[in-house]
Amino acid sequence: MNKLRFIVLLSTICFTLNAQTASLDDFYEKYKHRTELVNVSVPGFLIQFAASVAQIEAEDEMGRLSMELLKDVKKLKVLTGEKRRVKYSHIITLFDDLAKEGFEELMSVRSEDTDFRFLIRERKNWIRNVVILAEEEEDFTLLSLKTKMHLDDLSAVINESMQN
């Protein structure tokens, strides 16, 4: 009985974790094999390694803190290419689903040929996910980050940049 409970609990956790970014995963799944688009996925350990090396080389506090912040990025995904290759209805669905999954828009800018949207998912001062969509006249870029970034760490970088 205990084993069964454990399996149910584990499955629920796995399902919940998976469901957290299901809409992003679905979107990437649709486009990641398209040769007309560039799909880059950088795992967290590589980002942390690069950040650690760069941190040693950092000449000032600002550089050091920025690299420390970069270590909080657990995964980076970028999908970029020609805008006409991506269905507009898929983008609309993606953003509707992101809202349902608890993503919140921080800001957006739309002009004649540019569309920029910046969303995050945050809980108790921890930023868990970041999504940036940038569309220009002909280009499309979707960047998503899985993070474990505390607002205090972000504040420290802003404070340092303001002092310089």
Binding site: E105, L106, M107, R110, E112, L151, M162
Partner: protein
């Protein structure tokens, strides 16, 4: 009796709907079509951004009393929308001033200069007068037309404290 209950319920919903509509900001109320208009650049800062700014421990290079006053003012802001157009400036400015219902909004300040530059600051406030629900700025400049809408509970006392803290 049942019919009356339904009628009452429907009436309540209608009232609630009209109340919510009355609370809508000027851009949603009068300039919704501009949001999709390609002549405009539209910037939107969400309430979430204001909440995060408030929660972040950022040293804004201000004196302590200034920082406190800024944060006290920011805490009740619920969003900022900016619309900018670089063409048809005069027409857009004229259209905007005509569209805004003067019963809902009061002109706080208006400037017209020789260089064909017009500025109007309007507010929508609550009955007590100390709380402003929206601060709307219309600028019909030489090079662009700007419509800026701050939405939230803007406490005029806090704004004056902010002004005082910078004057000290």
């Amino acid at each position: 009796m049942k019919k009356w209950s339904y009628a009452l319920l429907v009436a309540c919903f209608c009232m609630l709907g009209s109340m919510l509509n009355a609370q809508a900001d000027a851009i949603s109320q009068y300039f919704n079509q501009y949001l999709e208009d390609e002549r405009f650049t539209v910037v939107y800062i969400s309430p979430k951004m204001f909440q995060m700014i408030q929660r972040m421990d950022v040293d804004w290079d201000l004196e302590e009393n200034e920082a406190q006053a800024v944060m006290a003012t920011v805490e009740d802001l619920r969003g900022l929308r900016i619309l900018i157009a670089d063409e048809d400036i005069d027409t857009l400015y004229e259209e905007a001033t005509k569209k805004i219902d003067t019963k809902g909004y009061e002109i706080l300040m208006s400037v017209r200069s020789k260089k064909k530059s017009n500025v109007q600051v309007l507010v929508k406030d609550e009955a007590e007068g100390n709380i402003v629900n929206e601060l709307l700025m219309l600028v019909g400049g030489k090079e662009s037309f700007v419509l800026m809408s701050f939405v939230g509970k803007i406490n005029l006392k806090k704004v004056s404290e902010l002004q005082n803290s910078f004057n000290e």
